[in-house]
Structures are given as C-alpha cells and as structure tokens.
C-alpha cells in the first residue's frame, strides 16, 4: 500500500443536539480517488468540510501527513489552533464547492492567482504563469481575462478547480461540484476531474454521479446516518452491495 496521507480517527461532529458524524475512522492513501456517496443528511459533505476545518468538530482527530488538523492537545484539554495555523493547514488541501464560489470582482486569472500571491507569497510573474498553466489545463486558457459573470456554470467550476489545484495541495476535496450545473455542462467538469485523477492527484469526491464514481473512483465510501456504511472497491460495492442500506440507496439513485 502506498503512503497514508490522511488519517481520520473517531471523528464526531454535532450541531446542537444533532449528531451528524458519529465516529468516522478512515485512512486515505496517496493517489487514491475516493467517491463518498450516500443520501442527503448522511454526513458526507460535513465529513469533507471537517477535513479543512470549514467545520469545527467535537471529537476525534484528523491527521494530514501526520500533522493534526485544527486542534492540539494542551494537557488533557483539546484546543483549536490559531487562525493563522489553521489557514496554513487549509492551504494543504484544495476544495471545490457546489456553488463554485468564484470571487466575482476578479478575472478568472486573478481568482487563481490570489492564493498564490497572498498565501504562497509568490512574485506576480510566477503566480500568473502558474495560473495560466492551470487555466490552460482546464481548457480555459483563452478565458483568463473573463470575469465569473461572463462565464458559463461549467466554465466557472473549471476555474474554481484550477484555483484550488494551483495551490499544489496534498489532497483535493470536491463537494458535489456538478450538482448546480445544467446537465449539458456536467461532462466538461467531470472530464477535468478525470484528468486530475489520471495525474495521480489524491481526491475525495462527494458526488451523486454514480456512473462517474463507478468509472473514476478507486474506492467508494458509503455514508449512512453519520457512520461509514461500506467502504471498498466500486466494482464490488456497486455490483454486490454487502448491506441492505447500500442496496436500497443504489436502487433509488440514478446509476445509469
């Protein structure tokens, strides 16, 4: 087995009295492409958001390359790290969102350059070169000077992926990145993700695209009511689910 990048142990997350994650244990290895599936409310998006501390969590640990994310022990107490430390850790993972979340007052190029300039503190020329390289990679080299409002949803999402990947993250998180897109624009975004998978990028994808999960993922995690229901090879899981829950879920989701 290749090197472990991410180690999650006993992860618990509650919203008030509602326990959304009830103890998640999971290890992610270098180069794995993991599709996280499950019905809405199963905790899959929350899991993704805990990994880069967009959500605080109450219990358990997450380690990225051995370093604990978000919290540190102080005696027997557990304390949230400083905003500065957390920001540094967040830069180690990239994230793409359902709603793209491009900065509307910046061109595509400026969106991609922002993190390179402000977080990595690269000189402007270097940041621009990297931004153009990645915009080119997602097929938008000729749209570098366009503002988000001038791009289609699919194009915006590709810029958003370029913005995340340009930071050279250890791990990419995709949160239902095709759910807000018109059907005819889904393909171009999935194509970009496929390309990154082929490059060996380690990725966690929360997705409703079962066909895509089946084709691209090296591993599938089925979330059910705040725990991992099944975890395994997509071919086995989709063809012969071990649990009734997964079988039911696959029946109701559009596989084809």
């Amino acid at each position: 087995m290749s090197k472990t990048i991410l180690e999650i142990e006993g992860l618990r997350k509650t919203y008030g009295s509602l326990e959304v994650l009830k103890g998640i244990d999971c290890a992610v290895h270098e180069g794995e492409v993991i599709a996280i599936i499950g019905s809405s409310g199963s905790g899959k998006t929350t899991l993704l958001r805990c990994i880069n501390m967009l959500e605080d969590f109450e219990g358990g640990t997450i380690r990225l390359d051995g370093e604990e994310i978000g919290y540190h022990a102080e005696g027997s107490m557990r304390r949230r790290k400083s905003e500065k430390d957390i920001a540094r850790q967040r830069a180690l993972t990239g994230m793409a969102f359902q709603q793209f979340n491009l900065f509307p007052h910046m061109t595509a190029e400026a969106n991609v350059m922002l993190g390179l300039l402000k977080v990595k503190r690269l000189p402007k020329d270097e940041a621009r070169a990297i931004a153009l390289k990645w915009l080119d990679r997602v097929g938008l080299g000729d749209r570098a000077g366009h503002f988000p409002g001038q791009l289609s949803g699919g194009q915006q999402q590709r810029v958003a992926i370029a913005r995340a990947i340009a930071m050279n993250p250890r791990l990419m998180l995709f949160d239902e990145v095709t759910s807000a897109l018109d059907p005819e624009l889904v393909g171009e975004v999935l194509q970009v993700i496929k390309g990154l998978a082929a490059d060996g990028m380690t990725m966690l994808l929360v997705t409703h695209e079962m066909r895509f999960a089946y084709e691209v993922a090296s591993r599938v995690i089925f979330m059910n009511q705040g725990v991992i229901g099944e975890d395994g090879n997509p071919r086995e899981m989709f063809v012969a689910p071990k649990t009734e829950r997964l079988a039911d879920f696959l029946k109701t989701s559009s596989f084809n």
């Binding site: 509307p104 993190g115 958003a160």
Partner: protein
Amino acid sequence: MGYTLNFAVVWRNFDRLLEGLALSLGLAVISILIGAAIGLAVAFALISKYRAASWPATAYVTLIRNLPILVLVLFAYFALPQMGVRLDKVESFVAVLAIYSGAYLAEVFRAGLLSIPKGLTEAGLAIGLTPIQIRTTIIAPLMLRNVLPSMSSTIISLFKDTSLAAAIAVPELTFQARKINVESFRVIETWIVASALYVATCALIAALMRRIERRLALPR
C-alpha cells in the same frame, strides 16, 4: 411686495460664497473619509460573533444616530473644552462630522456585508487566506460595490450637514451667506444663490457617484 430683486451685492460677494463652498466641501471630504474608515471597522464589529466587539459597536451606532448633529456640534465645541479637550472650530466640527458619518456609514456597510454570500468567505478560507485577508481582498471590495447607491444619498446628506458648522462660526457656505445677508440686507437673493450652490454641488456629487458605480460595475 415692494421688494425688488437685486443680485448685484451677491455677485460682488460671490467669491466669498465660493470660498465658503470650498470649505464646506473640504469639511465633508475629510470627515467622510475618516467616517468611512470608522464605519468599515464598526460594520465588521456589528456583525461579529464576539459580543466584546458587537456590543460597543451597537452602543456607538445607537447613541450617535439618536442624537441631533447640532447637539453634537455644540457639545464638542462648548462642552469638551470644559473637560480638558481643546479643539479649534474646524477641528471640533470635523471630529463631530466624522464620528457622526461613521455611525451612518457603519449601518450602510453592515447591510452591504450581510448581502455577500458566505460561500465566498469559505472559498477564501479553503485556499488558505486568513480572515483578515478575506475581508480586505474579497469582502470589502464587494461590499463597497453593493452599497454605492445608498452611500450616495448618505454622502449628500453629510455634505448638507456641513451647514451646521455655521452654528460655531466656521466660515463655510451657510455662514458666509448669513454674513452677506446681514451686511447687505439682500435676504432673498443671498439665500437663493446659496441654495443654488448647495443644489448644484449635491447634483454633482450624485453624478460623480453614479459614474463610480458604473465604473466598478462587474462585467457580465
């Protein structure tokens, strides 16, 4: 009516009115610039989840917005020196108008901040920006675009409020007009011309703001 209009005296003293207008504008610009800085900081404090920040900000906005500005002007000029704070006429008026505009602009900015999607902050966090970097590079520029239309009327309001400086004998436009009025007895003419100057200046400010708005509009 037995009153014949005669503008000659007013035209002879027109340069004094213009000097007054220039001072009015100067007072407004300096006060609003300081007020905008105060307003921005206070707006972020107003929406902060930390009570230690939001409580004093709310207190400031509530207090200032519920006081007539003339009371503040008189208090700063007459009462503060008794308390050991000695400012000259212009300084004390600028301080008052800055604090006053800070409270109004804070409310304008707060509304603008609330209209910015949370996802943009999260996208900034996700690439490793600190909360302060997100405010300066993403939130503030977007908020300013949002609030330009309502800011325009606030700025015009604040410009007109400079006339209250006449109460402490700052020689701005209203003060100059009153002086010409008293010296010449051309009551109607003097105030018509002074009013025209206010109206023209406000119209210019509105046009300028619309221009800035168009300039900063996001291309789509």
